[in-house]
């Protein structure tokens, strides 16, 4: 198994699905399908994860210590035994922050050259 790297910068840049997964579990723990739904909601349907993609990413995130499995489970009637709940680790938190900063710097750079809209949203690719 790969030993977790401790420097957040060593993980950057993050791929789009990985960034969204980390953001989805940033505010609270979520299980697999809840992550898929949250990513879909947050990106307004622009990013749709398949279960294969999601769990391939989660496996790597677990290995690298950016997310961890949570032992806290909801009440039995709201739960399914097969579910795993994931939450962000401190390292994961630091990595998302660095990635967000990095992207913000890029946006500032682009704006300086009048290449981005003032709201900060990059034009949607059609």
């Amino acid at each position: 198994m790969r030993s977790p790297r401790s420097q957040p910068e060593s993980f950057l840049p993050l791929s789009q699905p990985v960034f969204h997964i980390l953001v989805a579990v940033a505010d609270r723990q979520r299980h697999g399908y809840a992550i898929m739904k949250e990513v879909n909601r947050a990106t307004d349907g622009a990013v749709k994860l398949s279960t294969g993609t999601l769990y391939a990413a989660i496996r790597r995130l677990l290995d690298d210590g950016l997310v961890e499995e949570s032992d806290e489970r909801p009440d039995d009637e709201l739960d399914d035994k097969r579910r795993r709940y994931y939450r962000l680790t401190e390292l994961g938190h630091a990595v998302v922050l660095r990635e967000a900063d990095r992207m913000a710097e890029l946006v500032t750079l682009a704006r300086g050259k009048a290449l981005a809209t003032s709201s900060g949203n990059s034009p949607r690719r059609s």
């Binding site: 697999g32 399908y33 898929m36 398949s50 399914d80 990595v95």
Partner: protein
Amino acid sequence: MLDLLQRMSVRTYRIFLRAYPCSYRRQLGPPMEEAFAELCAERLTGLGAALRIWIREYPSLLLRGVSERLSPDRRPYGKRPSKRKLMNNDASWLGSVLQDVTHGLRMLRCRPAFATVIIVTLTLGIGMNTAIFSVLHGVLLQPLPFPEPERLVRFGRTSPGDGTWLNPLSPLEFRDMAARIKSLESMVAATPVAAVLTDMAEPAQASGTLTTVGLFDTFGMSPQLGRSFLESDSDPGAASVVVLSHGFWRARLGGRLDVLGTTVELDGTPHSVVGVAPEGFGLRPTVGLNDAEYWVPLRWTEDVLTDRHSHFVMPYGRMASGASPDEVNRELATLWPDYIKDDPGNHLDTSYETGLHASPLHEFVVGGSRQPLMFLAGAVALVLAVACVNVVNLLLANADTRRHELAVRAALGAGRGRLVRQFLTEAVVVAAIGGVLGIVVAAATVEAIVGLFPDAMPRATEVGVDGPVLAFAAAVSLITALVLGLVSALQAELGASALRARSGGRSAASTRLRQATVVAEIALALILVIGASLLLKSFWNAQQVDLGFEPEGLMVVNLTLPADQYQEPEARAQFYDALLQSLDEAPAIESAALSSMVPVRDFGTNVSGLTAVGNPDRRAQYVERRQITPGYHATLGVQILRGRDFTRADSDAAPTLIINQTLSRVLFDDADPIGRRLLLGPDDETPREIIGMVADIRAGGAERRVRPHMYAPTRAAGNLLVRARADPSALLSELRAIVRETEPTARVYQAQTYGTLIAESLGERQFVMFLIGAFGLVALALGAVGTYGVMLYAVEGRMRDFGIRLAVGARALDIRLQVLRSAGALAGIGLGAGLLGAYGLRTLVASLLYDVDAADPLVYAVVGLVTGGIAALACWIPANRAASADPIETLRFE
């Protein structure tokens, strides 16, 4: 239904999960499955949604699973290699794939027999599947070739039975109904007709459609040239007009642009051409939507306007925008009570006809073909499964023989992933070759199917290899490649573990897998052959059905008379009198007669509301009405059970009838009908006397039930039935001569033996049986080859044992029996599984059978024995080889 779809999706997901390595599945399998189940529960709301979910989930699962197996060492996800490095990596990746492809092709070239067997097997599997998909696509899936085809409906009265058939209406009923249905934007009623083109150099028959106005509007088309019919064209005294089909106009009139206003002679009557239909537009109601060469307007004559009982037009409608078939049906349901109440003659039998119903036109046209086609699709998928199992088998054997090569490459530094990818690429290469050749096979097969069985299914002309079919072939090839690739990955893993263990023998897992393929092949082939045999028996039974007359030696002849000389009925009657007289005198002809309709070939034209004088409460519905000349029943070979046949005097004297046994039972139970008088409907004022009762015949063909029949005398009718003393087909030239002698300008334009007619009536049954039989044979051959291959391989691996046993005194017979016993065990399991499988699937085939039990023990037993025999034969050569092991050779080798 939705629940079933969801469960099926999750189950399939579980199967695809097996693409992942075991450790991965242990860790993440359950949460992945749970997430997918939740996704299905929330999003899978129909077949369309299911398709979207499958397309997004399954391939990604397979690919990720395989890549997990291939490269357990992954690079950190966050790090992107530098551009230069990436390019280098890509180049080397592409290069190594090309290297794999080249190596794969070289390996195939080095082992031509191996390559040929694999490629031929896959070509057959993929080709047959693609061919059946083309038929399925052309007939079932493709929308009808009209604008907004989903708005088209066909309506009519429902009759008992399977509820799919809609009885025709009388034109008067159609007109009343058309005025009241609001959910239909436009309506048309039509019926098939045929005419002889009398102004052609050689008279030819053309099929056409008699239609009310609104034909083109209802189908959303407009004529390519000229106009459609106007209300005035339907007036009784209006000039005769015709609209021609595009094909007729191009083929017979050379596509002349000045065709409008010219005339075409139909049955001797000149019709003025007022329009030409757009290309591809056809409407022949009884068989579907093709084939009409011309359209003529229905005339609202006095007869048509007063006759409620002659039901012969099929109504079609275009729903108003936004309306649904349910809405039309609701409206039709409200019309039904009025419809019964308004019927002045009360000729409806509401226990026989239960209401009015509208079906979407697409469903009406192809609904009957859905089951046989889906059945064929299932069967052909089984063939592909057998083909895949066979190829897997060969690949497994191949992997073992390539262990040495693998060892060398591993020693030279090839990683495990690299070796597995080599096998995967080879699988993709053979599947791609099989796919390309399969498309060629499919194109040829489709052409052959449509050529051989043009009437076996509706919309046959729309069947072809097109874009969606090519996409299907590509998808099937891809799935095949993935299946084979997964097995390749597995076998390479097994090979690698065998290498690691430095085992001299073959790995147990690999042997078990190979034995499982034998069991699967025998079981699948057996299921197919049982299905084929049941259909063969049905076909045989349908052919053996006693039609109630003797078709051997019978011939049907159609001829045409010059219209100007024979306009008067009496002139025609005199011609036919003379012709029948000459035919009676001809030594080669036993008897001859005329009939308005030909049993098995023609049906329709029925009368409802028949009653016997003095008993108005007992009615006969849907009585087939025929006009015949004296000697008709004798010519067909039908016995007159009571009374007498017509004589030439009958057609001129007081009206008389002959009825069949069924009609007699309906009206009189078992009492003698002779001398009783019948009224043809409540408004009929001319009672007709029954002078004879004949035995029943199956006039609709072997598979339709016997209907009540009535026969009226005539002196002239369109079909000449001739019974020959010897071979009827040798009679044609003599017949032509007799016709010419009687009238030099008369021509025979069509002559068919009854054998041909009956074969045509069994067309669909023959089509399904032929294809399923072909699939069964292919599966059986593949199964035999596969079994042979596995047994031979097993024997070769044990030659040393056999040699030693022979050296210490075992007899050759013992060795042979030992091999056959071990093969027998496998074959036995396969046969058992096949028999159980066929029994489990029996309901699928049941509806296609005729007079055969889907679990017919005789068929199961015979097919089981034959398949077992073939399996035994396939094992015999390997057993002999084992028995011929040379002890000296073996010991020397040791």
